[in-house]
């Protein structure tokens, strides 16, 4: 295909991506090194017959003028990145000097909002990804072993937790674990504590979010593994059976190696997706106990005072994190398609 033809076909999608993905990234970068202007303050002297008093007033005109001239605000360099709400280098250094033990240091670091959000995001990513892939694998093995006729309906029902809107799916679970909901009541009965509230405790909130994450991402792993199981070479399985391999040995030495590329693919995709975790925290109303990086940006953007610069700095740090996580995917794609 000639360059000119290619350009004409590709122009609409290129424009959309350039305007609404590439430029916003640039805009975030610029915003993160600027803060809104302070109001211009002037000192005026009020003189009365009894003497003069000095007072400061806000010069509205000058403020407006300054804001019109430089709508981006005042350039502050890396100041936002290093302040207490973000990387907090000075606070980190102080915590390091003051704390007696590693545990103490960790506790101090967890008081810093950015590191708290980072800790939850990484925990979510590290727990939900393997758990949901393992659960999906076991379900796929089980579905693969039942009569063909029943598989369709089971696949249908298994897809639901993944297809449903994340905010909605999380809400449904949230209402059930409410202390007046059925799961909440069941937990209270199990631990024999009628006043237990899952919402009030930080560890329990984290566990709820992790359970939701596993519930909602396991179907993806299930579907991918189920499709992969259909491509396992039958003759290898049969010859293994002739050689006397047990069911477990066949899974361990034939099925699992065959599915290894799929597993790697899913790990890479799901790690990136789970890094973006956001909606369940809104649904669970869990901002006080668990914040992810995305939720951190969201809470900066919402509310009365929109902290655009702070949100922008967090966004840049999040993008940096995504790029780190993405690098293995890029290398993999490069090896697959890029060599030609």
């Amino acid at each position: 295909m000639k360059h000119a033809t290619f350009l004409r076909f590709f122009l609409p999608t290129a424009t959309a991506m350039l305007l609404f993905i590439a430029l916003p990234i640039l805009s975030v970068l610029i915003q993160s090194v600027h803060v809104p202007h302070d109001r211009v303050v002037v000192e005026v002297e009020n003189c009365t017959p009894f003497g003069c008093t000095k007072s400061t007033v806000i010069d509205q005109n000058a403020t407006e003028k300054l804001r019109d001239e430089k709508p981006l605000g005042r350039f502050v360099g890396m100041a936002i990145y290093t302040d207490r709400s973000h990387l907090a280098f000075s606070e980190l250094g102080e915590a390091w000097h003051r704390s007696a033990s590693m545990g103490d240091f960790a506790a101090r670091v967890m008081n810093l909002p950015f590191y708290r959000a980072l800790a939850f995001t990484l925990t979510y990513m590290a727990v939900v990804t393997p758990l949901s892939i393992m659960l999906g694998f076991v379900v796929a093995l089980a579905v693969n072993a039942i009569p063909r006729l029943m598989r369709g309906p089971i696949i249908f029902f298994s897809l639901l937790p993944m297809i449903v809107t994340p905010l909605v799916g999380a809400l449904i679970l949230f209402w059930m674990v409410d202390s007046r909901g059925i799961l909440g009541a069941a937990v209270q009965w199990l631990v024999n504590d009628p006043n237990l509230s899952l919402k009030a405790s930080t560890p329990l909130t984290w566990i709820m979010l992790l359970v939701y994450g596993t519930w909602s991402t396991a179907p993806f792993a299930f579907v991918v593994y189920y499709a992969g199981l259909q491509t396992v070479p039958q003759d290898s399985l049969e010859s293994a059976m002739l050689d006397g391999a047990t069911r477990w040995q066949r899974i361990r030495y034939i099925v699992l190696p065959h599915l290894m590329p799929l597993t790697v693919f899913m790990f890479l995709i799901k790690i990136m997706d789970n890094f973006r975790v956001f909606e369940p925290i809104v649904s669970f109303n869990a901002g006080a106990h668990a914040q992810s990086l995305s939720y951190f940006i969201y809470s900066d953007l919402g509310g009365e005072t929109r902290l655009l610069s702070s949100a922008a700095a967090t966004s840049v740090l999040t993008i940096a994190g995504v790029l780190v996580l993405l690098s293995p995917v890029l290398v993999r794609t490069w090896r697959q398609f890029g060599k030609a």
């Binding site: 609409p12 905010l167 809400l171 449904i172 499709a227 940006i297 995504v322």
Partner: protein, 293 residues
């Protein structure tokens, strides 16, 4: 695995089916429970006394004379004007699907037929864009959109969703177009078609399976979106998902959480139908990238 199934022991069968039943309960029960509970009053669905109240609804019977009531639905759809949000959602979803498929098929076709190196780099760029968390982009939109008075309107949210959707659409459709033999459009070119004519008369008639599968995922992205629609739309133009979130903020204190429950059920119902009718396409779309790649 037909030969394997005959040798399976009875205990293994029992464990397998027990596990499957457990999984199905975990997957379905929350939906069934919420659906059933949406026809009760709050005192029953969130019952302090006993969880069985949500099943039999003694308070619902007291208040409405019947164990089932549509009060939650009436409150949400009529009183709180959920119909308006549903209408907005409909407009957004239809526009996003149509526009992103139009852009995506053109771009994907071009990428699949280009033999130059930059096609690969563009796909790699798209992969990077796909990985960007939407919230980081939204914080980039807000300031310019305020300044240029673009904030709050449906077209703004639509075009942003289209753009966010493009990387994924491009990847799926490029892979799909690669499977359509090049000879088809090349022979049309030999017969004197322009590139657009070849696309129009040769490719478009055979592309629908791939486009439908991709369209389903565009639909899901637009329908399920909370980030873009909640941050970029004014109250008047809200779609369904941010509307539900706003029920939680305002009405939980008034004791009208049932509005949220009934609208959650209303939002989930179309997704049920979608999976029911398009299960095969959804499964093939999910596995396309994985099993082949």
């Amino acid at each position: 695995m037909a030969s394997g199934s005959q040798k399976r022991s009875a205990t293994l069968n029992l464990v397998l089916s027990g596990f499957l039943i457990l999984w199905l309960v975990v997957a379905i029960f929350p939906f069934a429970w919420t659906f059933w509970g949406s026809f009760k009053v709050e005192g029953d669905f969130f019952s302090k006394a006993s969880w069985q109240n949500a099943l039999f609804g003694p308070l619902t019977r007291l208040e409405h004379g019947n164990a089932f009531t549509g009060a939650g639905y009436h409150g949400a759809w009529v009183k709180e004007e959920f119909w308006r949000a549903a209408l907005n959602s409909f407009v957004v979803v239809v526009c996003v699907v149509v526009i992103s498929l139009t852009f995506g098929t053109l771009g994907g076709y071009a990428l699949s037929r280009s033999t130059y190196r930059y096609a690969f780099w563009l796909l790699l760029m798209a992969l990077v864009f796909r990985a960007m968390p939407p919230l980081t982009l939204v914080s980039g939109y807000l300031l310019p959109f305020y300044q240029w008075n673009l904030w709050g309107h449906l077209p703004t949210a639509i075009i942003v969703l289209v753009a966010i959707n493009q990387p994924f659409t491009l990847w799926m459709l490029t892979a799909f177009f690669r499977n359509i033999p090049k000879d088809l459009d090349e022979s049309a070119r030999v017969d004197g078609c322009t590139p657009f004519q070849a696309f129009r008369h040769v490719i478009i008639p055979v592309m629908w399976p791939g486009v439908i599968t991709t369209g389903l995922f565009s639909f899901l992205l637009a329908y399920n979106d909370f980030v873009v629609t909640s941050m970029l739309l004014s109250k008047q133009n809200q779609t369904m998902i941010p509307k539900i979130a706003s029920f939680l903020g305002t009405t939980q204190t008034e004791g009208n959480v049932m509005f949220a429950v009934s609208s959650v059920v209303s939002v989930t119902a179309p997704l049920f139908l979608l999976v029911m009718f398009f299960q095969r396409q959804i499964v093939s779309g999910l596995t396309a990238g994985a099993v082949k790649g």
